[in-house]
């Protein structure tokens, strides 16, 4: 009887630990904000808790390094996981709020062959976009002609929203970063 009770107690504690996890203090999901994806669906930043994600920021009319950022995310995902592995999310947040409407993001995803099963192209409001960049440690600045200067970096979020790796290797696979993606997927 006593042992049975102990087992029950253990079970309650264990399920508590796995079910009602407190969010880590340094999780980016301590922040929440509404976003809209390339299909026009509204979602919230913290909805992504539970998914490993590679995140970066970009704008669709950028002709220089941004296409390379997208390519690098693609080849990094291919190197780290099976094709269209739903456990690994690829998220691009635009900072071009004037031009990158949901429709424009949709067209860009189609043109670049970014499967909606794995890719999310999103926009937030002007204030939350600045906050998202600040949390991720990314920099961007609008130029008078409407273009942007911005840092080119991939950020890896584990399932709890902690930044576990980042790379500014663009145009080829960063082996260390791929290793970190695999590790985050294995821990999930």
């Amino acid at each position: 009887m006593k042992r049975w009770f102990l087992c029950l107690l253990l079970l309650v504690f264990a399920s508590g630990a796995f079910g009602g996890n407190a969010l880590p203090g340094d999780s980016v999901y301590q922040f929440n904000a509404p976003l809209v994806d390339q299909d026009g669906h509204a979602w919230h930043w913290a909805d992504r808790r539970g998914h490993v994600q590679i995140v970066s920021m970009f704008y669709t009319s950028c002709t220089m390094v941004c296409p390379l950022i997208v390519d690098t995310m693609k080849i990094t995902a291919q190197a780290a996981a099976e094709k269209n592995d739903a456990r690994l999310g690829l998220l691009l947040v635009s900072f071009d709020l004037a031009r990158d409407t949901a429709g424009v993001l949709h067209g860009y995803a189609l043109r670049r062959g970014l499967s909606p099963a794995q890719w999310t192209l999103a926009r937030a409001d002007v204030d939350d976009t600045r906050k998202i960049a600040a949390m991720l440690g990314l920099q961007y600045r609008q130029l008078p002609d409407g273009d942007f200067n911005h840092s080119s970096e991939l950020v890896l979020l584990d399932a709890e929203g902690r930044i576990v790796a980042r790379t500014n290797v663009i145009g080829r696979v960063d082996a260390e970063f791929v290793h970190a993606v695999r590790k985050a997927l294995a821990e999930k």
Binding site: L23, P24, G25, D26, S27, V28, Q30, F31, F58, C62, M64, V65, C66, L68, I69, R130, K131, A133, A134, M135, G137, L138, Q139, Y140, R141, L143, P144, D145, D147, F148, N149, H150, S151, S152, E153, N168, I170, G171
Partner: protein, 252 residues
């Protein structure tokens, strides 16, 4: 009559509590950070700036009504471990901290939240730079070697000395303590794009920054201001330091 005195006292009380904001005209301004990365001047819309940095007492009043920003509750995402570490308690300053010293050990997120509570926002770099370019008599004193030297002299002072209370000499706009007391957050600290990497003119740098080019710094002789840009651009949004405070602005 008694009512008028009472009303006067009320209004006086309100005026003493609300922060003093000073209007600035904006306009075009030759920033150390050209708008296009080359030589385009900054265009600044009219705005009003807090005459003084936010003090410990003012920030304490904010934390008391927004306890999510107390140091025992704020998540590490929004403020590092040194957040308000000079205060005796989560909701008390203690004896070592003066009410009218500028609040420091505050993160960008915290400074932003405070300004929102005052129906204001953090200044952009351009707004801060144009305001701080003034001295007591001129709106732009930057070409004066004596002005530059006075700013540099402050940088050179040891940071271990206790911070003076706010309320230094006013510049021509009526703004105080922009130079000589604390460093101050700007809203677009992560848009200044000046890092060790961006100064390297090699292929790796071109891939690191998307866009025409990473910003180039102008007015290299004005390194008093450039040092501030370098310091701000090196910060993370959750960072706090004992010499970094803030003030707020409102668009007009």
């Amino acid at each position: 009559m008694r009512f008028a005195v009472f009303l006067g006292a009320m209004l006086g009380g309100v005026a003493a509590m609300a922060a003093d904001y000073v209007p600035l005209p904006g306009g075009t301004f030759n920033s150390v950070l050209p708008a296009d990365g080359q030589n385009a001047p900054a265009r600044i819309a009219p705005f009003a700036m807090r005459a003084e940095p936010v003090t410990n007492a003012e920030y304490l009043a904010f934390v008391r009504t927004h306890t999510a920003w107390s140091k025992d509750q704020v998540p590490a995402l929004f403020a590092d471990g040194a957040y308000l570490s000079h205060w005796a308690g989560a909701l008390s300053l203690g004896d070592a901290v003066l009410a009218d010293q500028p609040v420091t050990e505050v993160s960008w997120f915290a400074a932003r939240a405070y300004c929102e509570g005052e129906d204001a926002r953090l200044p952009t770099w351009y707004e801060w730079e144009v305001a701080a370019a003034a001295d007591a008599h001129r709106t732009d004193a930057r070409a004066d070697p004596a002005w530059r030297q006075s700013v540099l002299d402050w940088y050179g002072r040891p940071s271990s000395a206790p911070l003076a209370p706010v309320g230094g000499a006013a510049n021509v706009y009526g703004l105080r303590d922009l130079n000589g007391l604390v460093w101050e957050w700007v809203d677009d600290f992560n848009a200044l794009l000046v890092s060790a990497d961006s100064r390297e003119q090699n292929g790796a740098d071109k891939a690191r920054f998307c866009g025409a080019a990473a910003l180039t710094l102008q007015q290299k002789e004005n390194y008093a201001t450039l040092m501030r840009v370098a310091m701000l651009s090196a910060l993370k949004a959750s960072d706090t330091t004992r010499n970094l405070g803030f003030r707020c602005v409102r668009s007009l």
